[in-house]
């Protein structure tokens, strides 16, 4: 177990900058997830931590030791690859023991270690098979076993679940989480799957274009995204971005949604009074009075009217057009349109919504955030 410090790491290939100064520090035993779209530099960063690629600038410290220029084998790191990278000509047991053999561990100890790991991962019955005789999930377990056998200071997981089918992926995700809770190891885990990131991480680093956009706990990232990119990347369905105007009403600052013209066969062109939403931390929008901002509101914050929340400080009821209804079992997603943006609302399955008609929804802005339209930065 060791802490990991990544200090202003930069990586350039010729003129293209892949990592533009990454600063991350995690404690021993922490589970860090690097998440971001493809090409954001997360795999490069992982290779840099492993020592498979040299960094152009900056330092990497494992357990307070500067390993920036150490070779991979001297960093005491184990890695689980997306392709598993099991040695095809060796049996499962030999695969698991190879790292120990290279480190000149005596044979009897190696065998004990293989047994321990095999029992931990429930692959004891597979030890004499070749990787080609295993299923995807079994290969995944063997790959993890190979990493665990050496008891390294730091584990790296490079999109380990992306080659598995959906059901197995969820199972293995839970398994990895259990394993981390049991072994309390330091893990750096790369994924592009934001659900994996949310469920597994102690801390998440959201990356884009070679920069860390935000580093924080899953809940921080979810509730307090630093910018539009992070807000849109984390969460499924994604956070709603609703164009709204900052207005001063009485002595409070409110957000006024773009006026919706609600057309139904019975009421022709009923123009409602524009919906005005209260905003927590409203003073921070002082400088934007009169301007448009993007209101960020998670789908679960736009629901059917809920009696127990009625009359609270940050709830407002309003009518919207129902464009699409998507039942998901536990909830029903209703999609409407405010301004030019589609808005997802998470409603109770029993709530009556008819496509083409209007329905009443409750906006709960207690956790709302606001972004600058141009720069995408958080305003509040």
């Amino acid at each position: 177990m060791a802490s990991l410090v990544i200090d202003n790491v930069k990586k350039r290939y010729g003129n293209t900058s892949v990592l533009k100064g990454i600063d991350i520090a995690i404690e021993a035993g922490e589970f860090l997830i690097l998440v971001g779209p493809s090409g954001c530099g997360k795999s490069t960063l992982m290779n840099a931590i492993a020592g498979l690629e040299d960094v152009t600038e900056g330092r990497i410290l494992i357990d307070d030791q500067d390993v920036t220029f150490s070779s991979p084998k001297d960093r005491d790191i184990a890695m689980v690859f997306q392709s598993y990278a099991l040695y095809p000509n060796m049996t499962v047991a030999e695969n698991i023991a190879f790292g120990l053999e290279m480190r000149k561990v005596p044979k009897t100890e190696r065998e004990q270690e293989v047994q321990r790991v095999a029992e931990l991962l429930q692959i004891s019955h597979l030890l004499n098979r070749k990787p080609s005789q295993l299923s995807g999930g079994q290969r995944q377990r063997v790959a993890m076993g190979r990493a665990l056998a050496r008891r390294p200071q730091l584990y790296l997981f490079d999109e380990p679940l992306s080659n598995l089918d959906a059901k197995l992926r969820v199972e293995m995700r839970t398994e990895i989480k259990k394993l981390h809770q049991k072994l309390k190891t330091t893990i750096v885990y790369v994924t592009h799957d934001q659900i994996e990131a949310m469920t597994l991480a102690d801390r998440i680093a959201v990356m884009k274009d070679g920069e860390v956009q935000q580093l924080g706990t899953p809940q921080e990232i979810y509730d307090n995204p630093a910018n539009l990119f992070v807000a849109g990347f984390m969460g499924s369905p994604a956070m709603n971005f609703i164009p709204a105007k900052v207005i001063e009403s009485g002595n409070t600052i409110m957000l006024e949604l773009t006026t919706n013209t609600i057309e139904t066969p019975t009421t022709i062109n009923t123009i409602e009074t524009p919906t005005r939403l209260p905003f927590p931390n409203a003073e921070s929008l002082q400088s934007h009075i009169g301007k448009e901002v993007l209101l960020g509101l998670r789908p679960e914050m736009i629901t059917e009217p809920q009696p127990h929340k009625a009359g609270l400080e940050f709830t407002v009821n309003s009518h919207v057009n129902v464009d699409v209804v998507e039942p998901m079992g536990a909830d029903t997603m209703m999609i409407t349109r405010i301004g030019n943006n589609e808005v997802n609302c998470r409603c109770h399955p029993s709530y009556n919504m008819v496509v083409g008609a209007t329905c009443e929804v409750m906006f709960d802005t207690s956790k709302a955030v606001a972004f600058d339209i141009e720069s995408g930065q958080r305003l509040d």
Binding site: N47, A50, L52, S71, P72, K73, I77, A78, M79, F81, Q82, S83, Y84, A85, Y87, P88, N89, F98, G99, M102, R103, S132, R146, R150
Partner: protein, 297 residues
């Protein structure tokens, strides 16, 4: 409305069969037909012209009592072993070096591969000049001032087989390199990274991880080289013409000499059948493993 589609044989239906027919006929007659004929002749006492006086296996008995044939077989063993071994080693080493993301790889690859494009006759002739003591390598070294330098392998009956090996290795090792290079390119880069993280050095990584995964390439290369070695005829003809004496004869040269120039068709046929046996001894296990491999994967 019902249109009656009588089975009509159009040209398009027949064309593939027509195109293939000459090849099939030629293969059947010229390969398998003559193979069987040779087998039959090896059991007769044919001399200048084929005769059908069957004498059982006595031609084989004569063959294995013939000094020249035994020299040819021993030469094949020595030549084949060295040629295959050195080609494989050189091919693997060159391929590994070429796989280190070097510049101008395409040009270097072509240079190494190029000898394969010329015939063994040309190779043999060129190396005959290079190895000739009076105007080749030896003369060059003496002209450079190394008065004591001798390199007379080409005219030394004990060493002449090594000359064959040098020329044949020069020709074929580039091709083996290309085979292994293709194999190396197919190795998952993550495997090498994993081995590095596991603490294996470059040498160990290649020895334990990369080369074992190239087993099919090894096998293909071995079969290709083995049958080049067994059927070698033109190289010997051009480089040494079997000499000095018959000290650098290979079975193919023995076969040619007895069948076509020394009026010993029966004996020549017997030697040809022994060579066929050698080729089959290599090919059948290869085909067996290939076909079995396909069933498993």
């Amino acid at each position: 409305m019902i249109t009656k589609n009588a089975p009509r044989f159009t040209l398009a239906d027949w064309l593939p069969k027509l195109v293939m027919a000459p090849t099939v006929v030629v293969t059947l007659v010229c390969m398998y037909g003559y193979m069987i004929w040779t087998g039959v002749l090896s059991l007769t006492n044919s001399r200048m012209l084929p005769s059908y006086d069957f004498v059982g296996l006595s031609q084989y008995e004569r063959l294995f009592n013939n000094d020249r044939w035994l020299v040819a077989l021993a030469n094949l063993g020595l030549f084949g072993g060295l040629f295959i071994g050195i080609c494989l080693c050189l091919g693997v080493i060159l391929a590994i070096f070429l796989d280190q993301k070097i510049r101008n790889e395409g040009a270097i690859r072509t240079i190494y591969l190029y000898p394969m494009a010329i015939s063994f006759i040309v190779t043999g002739t060129a190396w005959k000049w290079l190895l000739n003591p009076t105007n080749g390598l030896e003369k060059m070294m003496i002209d450079l001032g190394f008065e004591q330098f001798t390199f007379d392998w080409l005219v030394n009956p004990d060493k002449v087989v090594y000359c064959l090996v040098i020329a044949a290795v020069w020709q074929a090792s580039g091709f083996i390199m290309a085979l292994f290079l293709a194999g190396l390119r197919g190795v998952d880069g993550d495997l090498i990274k994993a081995a590095q993280l596991d603490g294996a050095g470059t040498f160990t990584t290649y020895r334990r991880i990369v080369l074992p995964s190239l087993k099919p390439v090894f096998f293909s290369a071995l079969v290709i080289l083995a049958h080049i070695a067994i059927k070698s005829f033109d190289l010997v003809a051009a480089l040494t013409n079997g000499g000095p004496g018959y000290s650098s004869d290979l079975p193919a040269n023995f076969m040619y000499a007895h069948t076509f120039t020394r009026s010993q068709i029966g004996l020549g046929s017997a030697s040809a059948i022994v060579m066929l046996g050698c080729v089959l001894a290599i090919l059948i296990p290869y085909l067996y493993s290939e076909l079995r491999g396909q069933r498993h994967d």
